[in-house]
């Protein structure tokens, strides 16, 4: 026993090194997002308050560009609203007994937040916002800004939250080509912060360069129709049955400032449905 203790004391630095390496590797390889302790990410109170302070100062330097962006977007939206109103009036004249058209967006509500920490150059990028549980942000809420899709909320603190950015290969977004129903999987390929890759698009789809890619609505996280990007090019692929397309993202990740987190009223119901289906399948195998 004494010899064992002497051995341990003599080589104590190796044991300490081994212990610390094991702890770091545990932290590194915990990929389950529900296990990420909120103390160890930037969503905790200390780091988010420090980031908030820095952001108060630096955000003033970007205001001019953001304002111009917003004005352009407002003008576009107002034009769209006017043309849609005209369309509705035309339809009302043709079909006088159509009362009200059901709105896709009646189930969705927004929480507006400011980005206080962002990164675009790492292999896995995360964004921190200054709204948390107390403001209604919950995990797995989709986040968009005025240009396009930003990411999905991952860890939520009391007054801050961390978002898995679209520039993160762990995030796959279900997207489709506008005006068609063919859907594929959008994922970032770690090369440039302006381009992502749309995979698993069936080969018989007709498309042109410049076609818009929108969210397909096949998840409870993002509603249908949110613009994600435009088709830039076709990439060479090994798979004979599916296309891989290079997509230019409309979101400018280097200038994120204000984002909206989408509250989906139907999410609880859809999640319960999926869980019930999974449980019944499990029971059915017995």
């Amino acid at each position: 026993m004494k010899n064992l203790l002497d051995f341990i004391i003599k080589h104590s630095s190796w044991f300490v090194f081994l212990l610390l390496t094991v702890v770091s590797c545990l932290l590194l390889f915990q990929s389950n997002p529900y296990q990420h302790s909120i103390y160890l990410t930037s969503a905790n109170a200390v780091s988010s308050s420090i980031y908030g302070l820095f952001n108060n100062v630096t955000s003033y330097f970007h205001l001019r560009g953001i304002n111009e962006d917003l004005q352009q977007r407002n003008a576009m939206l107002e034009n769209e609203v006017v043309s849609l109103r005209n369309q509705i009036n035309d339809y009302k004249m043709l079909l006088p007994d159509t009362s009200t058209m059901p709105g896709n967006y009646s189930n969705f509500d927004f929480v507006i937040a400011h980005v206080i920490s962002n990164s675009i150059s790492q292999p896995h990028n995360y964004i921190t916002i200054n709204r948390g549980k107390a403001d209604g942000v919950m995990p797995e809420m989709g986040v968009v800004d005025q240009n396009g899709v930003v990411g999905i909320v991952n860890v939520v603190g009391e007054h801050s939250a961390r978002i898995i950015s679209l520039l993160n290969p762990n995030l796959r977004l279900s997207c489709k080509v506008k005006n068609s129903d063919f859907f594929g999987s959008l994922v970032w390929d770690c090369v440039s912060p302006q381009y992502a890759v749309l995979e698993e698009l069936p080969r018989h789809v007709k498309f042109e360069k410049g076609d818009t890619i929108i969210t397909s609505g096949y998840s409870a996280v993002f509603p249908e129709g949110l613009i994600v990007g435009t088709i830039e090019d076709r990439m060479p692929t090994n798979d004979d049955n599916f296309y891989t397309l290079k997509i230019k993202l409309t979101t400018d990740f280097s200038r994120l400032s204000t984002v909206r987190a989408i509250k989906n009223g139907m999410k609880g119901e859809l999640d319960a449905l999926e869980a019930a289906d999974y449980n019944s399948k499990k029971g059915g195998w017995n």
Binding site: S12, S13, V16, F17, L20, T21, V23, S24, C25, L26, L27, L28, F29, Q30, H36, Y39, L40, T41, S42, N44, S47, I50, Y51, S117, S119, Q122, P123, Y126, T128, R162, C190
Partner: protein, 127 residues
């Protein structure tokens, strides 16, 4: 300071950096590796000092050239560890290599700058 305390301290420092930058465990692992290899890097560059135990590396006790060599090795080791853990694949090897080299150069220059500010002139001893 004994080697164990140095390792624990560097682990905590790396963990602090990780908490702020959303990279879990990456910097902690890299700084632990750096602390563990510190003794080995000493033996590589310093004259054999068996009677001194754990010498404190600084520009004063070592002279500029030896200190610069020691720091470059240590910085290179840390950057290699961090960027390889971050990438975790050998796929885009050129990009990883570019990151390692540019980070090492920048860190080395900055540390050299900081240390020369901290060095006071009156501590030049005559043996």
């Amino acid at each position: 300071m004994s080697a164990n305390w140095v390792m624990c301290l560097s682990f905590l420092l790396g963990l602090g950096v990780d908490i702020f930058s959303d990279t879990q465990g990456m910097n902690a692992l890299a700084s632990t590796i750096l602390a563990a290899s510190r003794k080995w890097v000493f033996q590589l560059y310093f004259p054999r000092e068996d009677d001194l135990g754990n010498p404190v590396p600084s520009m004063r006790s070592l002279g500029l050239v030896v200190y610069a060599k020691y720091m470059l090795t240590a910085v290179l080791l840390y950057c290699i560890a961090v960027f390889f853990i971050q990438a975790f694949t050998l796929r885009h090897f050129e990009i990883t290599l570019l990151r390692i080299i540019s980070s090492s150069v920048l860190t080395f220059l900055m540390l050299l700058g900081f240390d020369s500010i901290a060095t006071t002139r009156h501590s030049e001893k005559r043996l």
